[in-house]
Symmetry: C2
Subunit: 152 residues, 2 copies
DNA sequence: TCACTATTGACAACCGGTTGCCTTTATTGG
DNA sequence: CCAATAAAGGCAACCGGTTGTCAATAGTGA
């Protein structure tokens, strides 16, 4: 890997490829639980929050658009995996939380994932994952800044 | 970051987020060149190959499905950025290469990207990018194996 | 040679995300 | 208090990818 800028090119392509692979893998992993990658991720966002969230808040925390998050939320509602709560501070914008079915479902897939993650952990040094995390966060934040400046 | 398996969870989420950010950023970056992230990437695959490739080969090299690659190829053909060549070894499956317009277009965006990448290079240690690349490649390859075993 | 299988392209449906537009409700400043 | 603005939901169109199916061509092994 001669030129430094080529390393970045490689990194971006690696991100694209890893994303594709993980989505595909995630869909298969989640299928036995009646979930897809996207729904799993959305349940995770709700499960990890300490309190119910409104759709725009969830979108923000996941780094997707309001409409994108809403789409999944509506689907998860249809499947009774999440439920609405009245929002005391905004009548029009309900809060969302896992239903009891959703909690059971999420805990099951979470347990399975943790087992898998532990087996991954044996194959790559913890320190290196940490560095990869830092670099990716840096990559996203550098380019996210660019976007903020332009839009709206 | 206490548990080792949580690091992997973070990494996967970081990949998803970086992917979203980079696609969005790439679309804006490529727009002045009359390209999108996807078309840019596809032109790149052709430009970097030492010889014309058939659609299934391109798909393979990019890690997407045959149909997905074909879709973009057909669009790039419509825009006259690439051209077909008869494939001596398979009558039904033409080879694709950049047209002269496509070459000019690609060289222009490539030059702009390299400038950007050099400015990124000043912000993260080369060694760390290398580690991130390794980890991501490892992540993708571990899960890609899983997929291979199952499908077809 | 000829049947069987693999490869390929075309087409359509779907998935998850985006953008854009419109309407409704909250919020805020004068 | 009320007008202007911001926040939120709903809807539709699109983008880039997937899967699945079909028909046609290549490649193959008996």
């Amino acid at each position: 890997m001669a030129k430094i800028e080529d390393q970045w090119t490689t990194l971006v392509l690696a991100v694209f490829r890893a994303n594709g692979t993980m989505m595909q893998w995630g869909d298969r992993f989640a299928a036995p639980f009646g979930l897809t990658s996207a729904r799993w991720q959305m349940l995770g966002a709700l499960a990890l929050s300490d309190r119910p969230l409104s759709a725009p808040r969830i979108a923000e925390s996941m780094g997707v658009t309001r409409q994108g998050a809403q789409k999944q939320l509506n689907l998860l509602l249809d499947e009774k995996l999440i439920q609405r709560l009245p929002n005391p501070s905004n009548m029009r914008s309900p809060l969302y939380e896992l239903s009891s079915t959703g909690e059971v479902r999420y805990r099951a897939i979470e347990a399975a994932w943790k087992m898998h993650a532990r087996s991954l952990a044996r194959q790559v040094k913890s320190q290196e994952i940490g560095i990869a995390n830092q670099v990716l966060a840096h990559l996203a934040s550098l380019h996210h800044q660019d976007l903020e400046g332009e839009d709206q």
